[in-house]
């Protein structure tokens, strides 16, 4: 491979701690380690899926990538530039190339603005003149499948699926290179969900977008992504191609997650890996490997040492003592 190959987005040892308690001196004493030492990269035109249960830090990772949250430590390269080192002004210019698609389309649009005004907003902010704005919006609204005579309507006049289309149109108005989609279909019905997923794929195909696709639903992630990262309690536990993740998941958590998903296939064998207990509190995560309290294969070493992030096969990263031992 090319030696000075640079991925489009590279994240190194990214950490984000949120303070949750103060001691008697008024200093922060306890932290939620929402994202704890996560590293990965995304190539241009690729979709990286992030999957995990609630509180695993997937949304925080998405927000960190757009620098909507400032990381506690770690670096974040976007198109060769470290976002954490940029000045406010430079970051603002860079933001043009990065956009966000939100989970709840009702909350993402201002109820007192017509969708036309909402769509004008991002373009106005970056100083486009009125005529180019109107033209851009026309092509956009066409691309997402909303009739242009609806432009003067207000958000409450649309259904959830239509609103999500409008939300997507707005995110894409500035022709970004990188889009973070945080659970874009979680609030939608099944038949509408498929429409939105297909739309996002078509748009990616047409404009070569790079996506970070966040979802708790492994089947949606599997449909959308080229590579998939699995997160658990602020850590990434496994990262690989979608085929490898589905065919030979290595980490015990990934295996359990895959087997816990209800599959619409009644005669499938129902040998499930049932995880014991629940996700521990991220304020007091277990020592060593965070997953050890629920892991069916946990050993003594798992409580003592945090597993390292190791590339087991080409492009297949795992953080698990048991898997790494078995491979040696």
């Amino acid at each position: 491979m090319n030696r000075d190959y640079k991925p489009f987005i590279r994240v190194d040892h990214l950490k984000k701690y949120f303070p949750v308690a103060k001691n008697w001196r008024g200093k922060n004493s306890q932290y939620v380690k929402a994202v704890d030492d996560v590293s990965f990269s995304i190539d241009k035109g690729e979709t990286l899926g992030l999957v995990g249960e609630s509180g695993c830090g997937k949304s925080t990772t998405g927000r960190l990538l757009l620098h909507l949250l400032t990381p506690t430590s770690g670096s974040l390269f976007f198109d060769g530039q470290d976002l954490t080192q940029l000045s406010k002004q430079a970051l603002w210019q860079k933001r043009r190339e990065m956009q966000f698609i939100f989970q709840d389309p009702y909350a993402a649009l201002n109820p007192r603005m017509t969708i036309q005004d909402s769509l004008h907003e991002p373009l106005k902010a970056y100083g486009e003149d009125k005529r180019t704005r109107s033209e851009t919006i026309k092509t956009l609204i066409d691309a997402v499948g909303i009739p242009s005579q609806y432009l003067n309507r207000y958000p409450h006049e649309f259904s959830g699926g239509q609103l999500q289309r409008i939300g997507i149109a707005r995110s894409l108005a500035l022709k970004p290179k990188f889009v973070v989609a945080d659970e874009p279909v979680a609030a939608l019905d099944m038949s509408i969900q498929a429409q939105i997923l297909n739309l996002m794929k078509e748009l990616q195909h047409a404009f070569n977008y790079t996506y970070l696709f966040i979802s708790h639903d492994l089947s949606v992630i599997d449909y959308m992504s080229d590579r998939i990262g699995v997160m658990y309690l602020g850590k990434m536990v496994e990262l690989t191609d979608r085929d490898a993740l589905y065919q030979e998941p290595l980490h015990p958590y990934t295996q359990a997650l895959l087997s816990a998903i209800p599959i619409a296939e009644p005669q499938r064998s129902k040998n499930k890996i049932m995880l014991k207990g629940e996700i521990p509190s991220p304020v007091h995560p277990p020592s060593g490997c965070h997953f050890r309290t629920r892991c069916p294969f946990a050993k003594a070493i798992c409580a003592e040492k945090e597993p390292e992030w190791v590339e087991m096969k080409k492009g297949h990263y795992v953080a698990c003592h048991v898997v790494q031992e078995a491979h040696q």
Binding site: A256, P262, I263
Partner: protein, 328 residues
């Protein structure tokens, strides 16, 4: 009459009226449920599945603007004709209810044990200490470890999955013969969902109660249900045993739902159902699905298809499937 028959709903209608219009939330619904059977009621949001449960529990129909009609025979007695007082003796006793959000079904200022003990105190006039021991037994039954300490704790000390277990314990405390579960796992993470679904099947096997499971997730249906009824716009459009429905769906809506669902490991492009669900107050004649149906023809516009028997235990409300039957 069939001894196994637990619930026999015939031509149930639930309308909501306002000055301008009438919303036909549930329109002419008929289905049956046997003892020890899990019937899944699936459909998208607004199709009337939750209204059905509320109508059966008579939580609607008491106000001027609500209109309830039809019959619902539960153990031979018509629930719709019962007075409020009679219903109070049935709800929580013979019929247990599990709601979607466990937080809103638990009272934050009473201990979990107290809330469960209230059920035998109310319905069986059990003494306080006997009711408490029933509560402990129930908590143990739903798999809450350390149940004696846990019973003295409050809802905020329980995690999401534990709360749902407590709600199930409460629903079971009256020893119900019918359990109505309205999206019992929608608010939970997948690994916890797997635990709760497993628990519900196990409890069904033990108590032989009939379960009416409301869900939007076809995966959940395939995992736990014996029979499925698919609802669309207030009506049942297809009803069949679970294997039959997934392998030989007859109604275009069921087929559409199955095709629009992403499946892990499948590279097939999703085929969404075009358009969006109809407004329940602007219904025109004929089949309600015609606007979104790829096979619609003249008759669909004028004649509403009845729920037609197409095979043993398999019914579908579509002109096409009845026509196919006639041509045999």
């Amino acid at each position: 009459m069939n001894d196994d028959l637990l619930l026999d709903v015939r031509h149930l209608k639930a309308y909501f009226r306002s000055k301008q219009r009438t919303v036909k939330a549930v329109d002419d619904l008929s289905f049956t449920l046997k003892k020890g059977e899990i019937l899944g009621l699936v459909g998208e949001s607004g199709c009337g599945k939750s209204t059905t449960t509320k109508a059966l529990l008579r939580l609607i129909g008491n106000q001027r603007k609500e209109y309830l009609e039809g019959e619902a025979f539960f153990e031979g007695e018509d629930l719709i004709k019962k007075s409020d007082k009679q219903m109070q003796k049935i709800r929580g006793n013979k019929i247990g209810f599990i709601a979607q959000n466990p937080m809103s079904s638990l009272n934050p200022v009473f201990t979990i044990g107290n809330q469960i003990a209230e059920v035998p105190q109310m319905h069986q006039r059990a003494a306080k200490n006997k009711a408490w021991s029933i509560a402990l037994k129930m908590l143990q039954k739903v798999g809450i470890s350390d149940h004696e300490t846990r019973a003295k704790q409050y809802a905020h000390q329980f995690s999401g999955g534990m709360k749902q277990r407590a709600v199930i314990a409460m629903a079971l405390a009256g020893n119900p013969s019918l359990l109505i579960a309205d999206e019992p796992t929608t608010a939970l993470d997948v690994t916890i969902q797997a635990q709760i679904l497993d628990l519900m099947v196990k409890l069904r096997d033990e108590t032989q109660a009939g379960v009416l499971l409301i869900t939007h997730d076809l995966g959940v249906v395939a995992e736990v249900c014996d029979r499925v009824a698919v609802m669309y716009a207030g009506k049942i459009v297809e009803q069949a045993p679970v294997d039959e429905l997934f392998h030989h769906p007859q109604h275009p809506y069921t087929k559409g739902l199955l095709a629009s669902m992403p499946k892990i490991g499948s590279r097939k492009k999703l085929i969404p159902i075009s358009g969006h669900p109809p407004n329940l107050y602007e219904m025109q004649g004929g089949c309600l699905f015609q606007e979104r149906c790829p096979f619609a023809f003249d008759r669909c516009k004028n004649v509403e298809p009845p729920l037609h028997k197409i095979a043993e235990n398999h019914q579908s409300a579509c002109h096409l499937s009845s026509e196919r039957m006639n041509s045999f």
